[in-house]
């Protein structure tokens, strides 16, 4: 079994099509994207004992909120710490481990739910599942970039689009399974977890079986590497821990963090915001539809913007995110003031497409800066920017809104200052992006280090 997982055993034979690799990556990302839909379990898990309504001994929503938080925390931690192991061990070993962790996390949690032991759910979905999320998220990145040197943005965009799309599959599937397993004396969450754990395990194992790395020196037919490298695209590799010492890494860290902060802040508040800015016109039901549309644009933006970056460059792509985002955020209060709901929806759909695009374009940006050898591991460290933004964005939006309301500002205008602050954050992001230059050659991997770690 160990040899089956080795990097050497995953080297593609002649005739293998590189178009088999994106589905392998999607097998992983479509599954782990389930984390975005975890909230569908929250309410049913508060009624495990009371069934129709929460009993005194039932879990509280505040306690259940920690499951998602622990999972996201472990995602960032494992991606950062295990990134080098993922790169050096190869994608199959990483995907296989991610499958065991993510699928196993569901099964441990199912036992925790059936025995009503919340710590087991924290350990299962939170810790074990979170590690699976982190490993799964970064595992196909460098492999895809190596298979698609001509279109690295499109390749990683496809995989990361799957992460955005995972919730579309998980949400209706979870609801359907809970409905199927529920009885008058039972909510059916534990059984749902068992089924989903087994299905996700199988699905991810298929991905790990399909994935291949290209043979050394392989290039796509007809592809000729540019003789004169582009200004911001290196042909050398930078070691993962050396990359962390470069200003470029931290500038890209802030670029991602600020782009995600702006997006994630409104993503969680979109429903309330649309109803409060257009009172009487947007019902809770319509607001839910608006959130669904935003999720679609979040997913589509990942593929669209990452693919576009192959033609216009990563730096220019982020310039668009920050410049257009600033204009759109600044325009949102105006749409509320003039009561133009269509313009409001359009603004947010474009904003959220750029939020997704930021996630999907960044692996190719890292590849341009630091080469392909350790791009997955470097990407793992960069994901800490996502964790930071996950705290910063919602906190900014929620607290500023509350402060505005407490100060007597009408609810319909309570988001104006928030939007201005988000626009200002994007201006800072624009400046960070502007400051990014090529990595100095002193950071490139030396020959002896290349020999030591091997060249994939």
């Amino acid at each position: 079994m160990a040899s089956f997982l080795d990097r050497d055993r995953t080297v593609a034979r002649p005739g293998f099509s590189r178009w088999m690799v994106p589905p392998a990556a999607l097998c992983i990302h479509l599954c782990i994207g389930q984390v975005y839909a975890f909230s569908v379990f929250n309410l049913p898990m508060t009624k495990l004992i009371g069934i129709t309504q929460s009993a005194a001994a039932d879990w509280k929503l505040t306690d259940l909120g920690w499951i998602f938080s622990i999972a996201i925390f472990c995602l960032g931690l494992s991606a950062a710490i295990m990134g080098r192991w993922v790169e050096e061990g190869g994608p199959r070993r990483a995907m296989f481990t991610a499958a065991l962790c993510f699928g196993g996390g569901f099964l441990v949690s199912a036992f925790g739910i059936s025995s009503h032991q919340l710590w087991l759910v924290y350990l299962g979905y939170g810790v074990l599942g979170g590690i699976g999320l982190g490993l799964g998220y970064i595992s196909p990145v460098s492999t895809l970039i190596k298979w698609f040197p001509d279109r690295p943005g499109m390749a990683t965009g496809m995989a990361i689009m799957g992460f955005g799309g995972g919730a579309f599959v998980a949400s209706p599937l979870s609801v359907w399974l809970m409905k199927h397993f529920s009885t008058s004396t039972h909510v059916g969450v534990a059984e749902t977890f068992v089924v989903m754990g087994v299905v996700y395990l199988a699905f991810m194992l298929v991905g790990s079986a399909i994935v291949r790395v290209p043979a050394p020196g392989w290039q796509p037919a007809g592809y000729v590497a540019p003789l004169t490298p582009k200004k911001l695209v290196t042909t050398q590799d930078v070691y993962v821990y050396q990359a962390l010492k470069t200003p470029q890494f931290w500038l890209i860290w802030w670029v991602l963090c600020l782009n995600v902060t702006a997006g994630i802040g409104v993503l969680g508040q979109a429903s309330a915001m649309s109803q409060e800015m257009f009172p009487g016109r947007v019902t809770p039901v319509a607001a839910a539809g608006f959130v669904g549309l935003m999720s679609l644009f979040n997913m589509a933006g990942r593929f669209f913007w990452a693919s576009t970056s192959d033609f216009i460059g990563r730096k220019n792509t982020y310039f668009i995110f920050f410049a257009l985002g600033t204009v759109l955020y600044a325009a949102v209060p105006y749409t509320g003031a003039v009561g133009n709901l269509s313009l409001f929806v359009l603004c947010f759909l474009v904003i959220i497409s750029m939020y997704g695009g930021g996630f999907a374009t960044v692996p190719a940006y890292l590849r341009d800066m630091f080469g392909t050898r350790y791009v997955g591991a470097i990407h793992g460290w960069l994901i800490t920017a996502w964790s930071a933004a996950g705290i910063l964005g919602p906190v900014l939006v929620n607290y500023i809104r509350q402060y505005q309301i407490d100060s007597g500002v009408p609810k319909a205008q309570a988001y104006n200052v928030t939007m201005d602050i988000m626009a200002a954050l994007l201006v800072v992001g624009f400046l960070c992006n502007f400051m990014i230059r090529s990595v100095h050659e002193r950071h490139y991997m030396r020959e002896e280090l290349l020999d030591e770690v091997g060249v994939a």
């Binding site: 005739g15 099509s17 589905p23 669904g292």
Partner: protein
């Protein structure tokens, strides 16, 4: 794409692999669009 499928990977492999991930994703997207349209309608 075609020039690389002559050896190990056949068109059937590609259809199966893409169908394996594409069908669930398409189902999820259709469900979401249907809900969104119904809600706005």
């Amino acid at each position: 794409m075609r020039e690389q499928t002559a050896g190990g990977t056949t068109a059937l492999h590609l259809i199966l692999a893409w169908g394996f991930v594409g069908i669930p994703l398409a189902w999820g997207v259709i469900e979401t669009v249907r809900n969104a349209l119904a809600l706005f309608g």
